[in-house]
Symmetry: C2
Subunit: 265 residues, 2 copies
């Protein structure tokens, strides 16, 4: 019997106390939350579209195939990252955001029902605390993701943004859901999170005239992710987010490649 105890303890010690992180990550399920960048990618109505031009494509004079391109864009289009300096003077630019702020446990808040009934829906503090009543307190370093359901309209710009107009006229006609200033204030005052992301073009709703939510969040040092996708594939809790923006020195924002990791079953 003593041997059994010893065996059980040894089993615990050897098989468990050092979980194999590389193995866990290799066998986890990875989900891409990123849209492609191309000429149809959604940008703000005042922005120009994403450019991708051929430098060379074909067989070189030495006889082998070669292809290379160049790209150009505004920082704040497509699936992208907002650094605190976007709306807060003296806030971190992209390269200064600590690596520890670029990953964290996902808190998935599903507001797709509300948003399907109201293009101008503003996510409330109550939507956040409702999540907590089901899944527990938002953990420190969390990444809050708001699933509005608008990701499915990505290829239909009219439904996705509310307008096909460009310039100031287009800006006036933007209609899509966002996070309310009230919820932003509640989050920054009461929880310690790394970032907030969603599947619309902006964390402020389309009809915002003063970008209060951006201002509240960036003043508190938070970062934001906009134009995400595949949020419908995430559980309410349990996923882990790795969000790596292009490291532009002095950048107020940049293209973001963002993935969710679901622990192996």
């Amino acid at each position: 019997m003593k041997r059994l105890v010893l065996l059980a303890i040894l089993f615990g010690a050897f098989s468990c106390t050092r979980p194999d992180l590389p193995k866990l990550l290799q066998t986890a399920t990875w989900i891409d939350l990123t849209h492609d960048f191309d000429s149809t990618t959604v940008y703000w109505p005042t922005d120009v579209n994403f450019r991708h031009d051929t430098v060379f494509y074909g067989i070189t004079e030495k006889g082998y195939f070669y292809s290379s391109f160049k790209y150009a864009a505004e920082e704040h289009g497509g699936t992208h990252f907002d650094a605190p300096v976007h709306f807060h003077q003296g806030g971190n630019s992209i390269e200064k955001v600590p690596l520890a702020q670029l990953h964290g446990p996902a808190v998935l808040i599903d507001v797709s029902k509300e948003c399907s009934q109201n293009r101008d829906y503003l996510v409330t503090a109550n939507d956040i605390t409702n999540w907590e009543s089901r899944h527990g307190r938002i953990p420190e370093g969390a990444i809050i993701l708001l699933y509005t359901g608008y990701e499915k309209y990505w290829n239909d710009h009219l439904r996705y943004t509310g307008t096909l107009k460009k310039g100031a006229e287009g800006v006036a006609d933007l209609h899509f859901p966002g996070l309310s200033p009230e919820a932003s204030t509640w989050i920054t005052a009461n929880r310690k999170v790394n970032a907030i992301g969603l599947d619309t073009p902006s964390i402020d709703f389309g009809q915002s005239k003063d970008f209060q939510t951006h201002r509240i969040l960036t003043a508190a040092g938070l970062t934001m992710y906009e134009n995400l996708c595949n949020l419908d594939q995430l559980p309410s809790a349990g996923a882990y987010i790795v969000a790596l923006p292009m490291k532009i020195k002095g950048g107020s924002g940049s293209p973001l490649r963002i993935v969710a990791i679901l622990p192996p079953k």
Copy 2:
């Protein structure tokens, strides 16, 4: 005594069989292997420099701070990712590279001594098998990182690339280490890896005239990372790499944000 066995088993079952992946990732050490993008970033001698232009910076007419920029660059400069289509017709472009190929256990091969004595050093199959003789067979899905030590010359373009000349003249004068075609053939024939990266401007050494290493690796579906940094902070084995390139549709390459995760002690 029976109770002790039960307790020990329960201890094992509850504390161990489901390792907490989010907790592990939050308490791991994360290392950024990415250089900043700015006007001094290293590009090929035939390329133009990285551009980052101000769209707006200051106080808006509504009284709040706002900053926004735009960027433009060639795909293959700075810390970047090479997709198979860069040198292999029909190979995957960036957005088609499976997510499973964008992460894996790191295999760190230190050739800094050889490269400090020879700017034109070509990493050999023997350098790879020497690593295996000390650390075991390269695991499936691994990411091989070649530490040449040239990362420390990043801010000194002459020492980093071998030349300050531009255009074809500059290309002729490039001198920096790379991976030999012989080692590339050995790796693709004998091991199943996701990617190979290094801390120089190209996986082919500076004096390459026909980019054989690129051609061998891309033909086998491998991806490449160039201009990495902080490889001196990695252990020979045990780190896990997450390498997320900007998702440019049809891209032959793109800016890469790459991190290493070291399991908690």
